[in-house]
Subunit: 501 residues, 2 copies
């Protein structure tokens, strides 16, 4: 989930300076509105070491009215604190009505660190996360607004920052042995942190992950996110008198991360001969692996989403020859029937989940909830926001049951899509594949871009990853998808071997 | 929590027959209203073997319009079901909009049974319960109404029922070896079931425990509870057109369990000499145990609630001599200050929780939320209903941390309270102890009775039990409280010895 935020989002000095005065004024204004309305606000600043949490908190303190704001720094527990339930020290610092509490280091820090260093078992870690989820729900039920921001930097960025600080005699002291110890466990931290976020990315208290690789962007993105969340909260509670509502449900342009789809390299091409050779090889491999998975009762779920005409059908048709007809099903998802509409949106997807080492291929899926339903307004903001957590929970149950879950987004450029649409319209036997709706959807590409980015950011997990596939070249898309499927099956078989041995 | 429902609530044939026609008509009427409004309803019928779950489901089917109702019986998992995540088979039977789904055997059954027989570890069991809580929250968020009823019978009642069935040749077949195996593990079932209920007794999907010892009462109580919940749900969703709102937040009189306070034997008296002897002994024991607890860092929380003039202060004053002044604090809770009001209601109680083997004594407590705040309307129905779960969660954190939690309700009769009030008014040095408010509270005794009953039913747990103390005789109350405290400390020390050895 974090890779999405390693886009190197940056902001020019000019843009930064242009936005600063107004943003600052708006934040202060919103703070007063919240203070007047007696709403308690809790801001949790979390993230990687060296990502600039301290700087962000300092900036916040210089911008806001500190008469109504208190920053609490939670580092190592004191003896007094260690002697009580782990939430005690946080309860003591909870913001009162009309106050803003800034938590620098929070109830997330210790469980994550202790799990990374093996002091908490996975079950204990999960229990902590459940406790936190219950706590946050309870606080929000009690009227609190919780804004949780996670500042992310890449492993390389972290190393470079530590090295730069160490080089300068005046800043050497800022890098401790602990920092390096954390850095050396960067990958584990990432894994545990993303698990923590997935557990607690709920509708009442969602997470906001920020690319913290450039200072200017980091600070503006943080402040814009904060402002946006506070405005939304004011309007949800019906408490806003003097504060205008946010103009959109998305963050303002300036604070948005670079869209992950903009970074997809669409150039790779696989020629006909290469394709034939690689394809034959992959099919044989998958055939064998699928058979082994069947023997070991490791089921698979493969989800295909992507732009219209990106070639989902073609990829699926190339996958099927590798699978025994008795072992797989392809489920085509289109607009829900009246019976499906009468149920919870996840209901119809539960019906066909595979068992006994079989494979279910979804041609479109439950992700419609956060794509078409979001963009077309079929689901309300509250409904689709809530869905990320519900979907993660759904997939987690499949994973816990030993099922392979892999998700593919087939990406093509706007121009390529246009070419394919026009081609379909010109070719008699392809005309049925193109409708008015497809043309209408094309106009909504920017909204879909946002939705896809958020979807991948919030539902790509270690065990249920999203693979973004460059589908500009069909051969390339097919080979990439099959390669991921082969790898996923190989990994799952290996894990099951390790477990049983 | 279950003892509260072993009151032998019963209903005369006459009362039963008098209520039947109207209740049935109202239920049917409400069903149509829900059907029209397109609300899906899920009824979970759970409880002990032999409590009559099947009979209740049959009755339901004969009363309601079965065109819009489907009963699903979940017994042993089929191979197909076992091959998928454990919630799969329930998802397949979820009621659609406008439909009622009756689950006989539900997602609670298997986790409880498997935990009883050691097939699930405590951590696995907790994880299941968290998953269920998330599921129910999600379904309710999606518009579903969930009514969960637990039919309870005592161990003796269960044995007698099985024996009666076995005696008759025509019903012999109804008692299986499994039934007896369950019966032999009755105590464990009770423990695990109460843990399941505590975990999942949430605001969106609360539990209703029913005394199922008499058929007539069981059926009427079940139907009244159902009707009441459906009506509440209709009105909460703003969907009720033709259905009148429930006349009160409490169940109608006829379905209410016998109040647990009505069963308290107020006759025991301890004479002066006996008291002196026992008191001296107990103080010495507690002194020694408290010292040991201090050495082992086992802290204690003792909560005192009770009627005005029941003698809370007197009991606390008799406990204190057993404790070293450095080791305890007495916290007097009265109406919240403005600072306390600006915080979550639990905030002020978190401040003083003990650590390092010390003792905190609360003279009134967080239970004010579900007592005075409920009765006086200071908290809304949603707020105080939610609080049972929040309070259980709070105490669970203390318990997980190794803290002893015991709660005392000091009970006196209405007449005895009047005597004490009058005595206070007559005695000059006691006059300050009686106020106008005390007299006003007396008039609300029936509402408090309901609130106390619910509180004890929903927050008395194995590790944080409520002790209902007969305080009609002061000596008796004092000895009983000290005895419970001695036992609790002894148990905790024993558990810590077992753990460390």
């Amino acid at each position: 989930m974090f890779e999405v935020f390693e886009s190197g989002a940056s902001l020019s000095k000019k843009d930064y300076k242009a936005r600063l005065p107004e943003l600052r004024a708006e934040l202060l204004h919103t703070q007063f509105a919240l203070q007047k309305a007696g709403v308690p606000v809790l801001i949790i600043v979390a993230g990687a070491e060296g990502a600039g949490k301290g700087e962000v908190v300092n900036r916040l303190n210089s911008w806001m009215d500190t008469r109504f704001m208190e920053t609490s720094v939670f580092t190592k527990e004191t003896d007094e604190e260690a002697a009580r339930p782990f939430l005690w020290r946080f309860w003591r610092k909870m913001p009162a009505a009309g106050q803003i509490g800034v938590f620098f280091g929070s109830w997330y820090t210790r469980p994550i660190t202790r799990h990374v260093f093996g002091e908490l078992t996975p079950a204990e870690f999960d229990a902590r996360m459940n406790r936190i989820r219950t706590l946050e729900q309870m606080l929000v039920d009690g009227g609190m607004v919780i804004v949780k921001c996670w500042l992310h930097i890449s492993e390389t960025e972290q190393r470079q920052r530590f090295e730069a600080l160490e080089k300068d005699e005046r800043t050497q002291w800022r890098v401790s042995d602990t920092d390096w110890r954390y850095h050396n466990n960067y990958a584990t931290f990432l894994k545990v942190s993303s698990s923590a976020i997935r557990h607690t990315d709920t509708a009442p208290a969602p997470w906001h992950i920020l690319d913290a690789s450039q200072e200017r962007y980091r600070d503006i993105a943080f402040m814009e996110t904060l402002l946006h969340q506070l405005k939304l909260a004011l309007h949800r509670n019906g408490n806003a008198r003097s504060v205008p509502p946010p103009t959109s449900i998305e963050l303002p342009e300036i604070a948005r991360p670079n869209n992950i789809l903009d970074r997809v390299d669409l150039s790779p091409v696989i020629g006909h001969e290469d394709f034939k050779r690689q394809y034959k090889e992959l099919i044989l491999e998958i055939e064998y692996l699928a058979w082994q998975c069947y023997q070991k009762s490791i089921s698979s779920v493969f989800v295909f989403e992507g732009w219209d005409a990106a070639g989902k059908g073609g990829v699926i048709r190339r996958l099927i020859p590798a699978l025994d007809a008795k072992l797989y099903r392809v489920i085509q998802i289109s607009a829900p029937t009246s019976i499906e509409k009468a149920h919870h949106y996840l209901w119809r997807f539960w019906q066909d989940i595979p068992a006994g080492g079989r494979v279910t291929i979804y041609d479109r899926s439950w992700y419609g909830r956060v794509l078409v339903e979001r963009v077309e307004g079929f689901a309300t903001l509250d409904e689709w926001s809530r869905s990320y957590h519900e979907i993660n929970e759904f997939e987690q149950q499949l994973i816990d049951h030993g099922t392979i879950v892999n998700k593919f987004w087939l990406h093509i450029s706007d121009e390529e899509q246009l070419r394919r649409f026009e081609n379909r319209q010109k070719t008699p036997y392809k005309q049925h594949k193109i409708t008015e709706e497809d043309w209408r959807n094309r106009e909504k590409r920017p909204a879909y871009m946002e939705a896809v980015h958020d979807m991948i950011a919030r539902t790509s997990t270690e065990y249920a990853p999203w693979h973004i596939i460059s589908a500009e070249n069909k051969n390339h898309a097919r080979i990439r998808v099959l390669t991921h499927i082969r790898d996923a099956m190989q990994d799952a078989l290996q894990r099951s071997d390790t477990k049983s041995s």
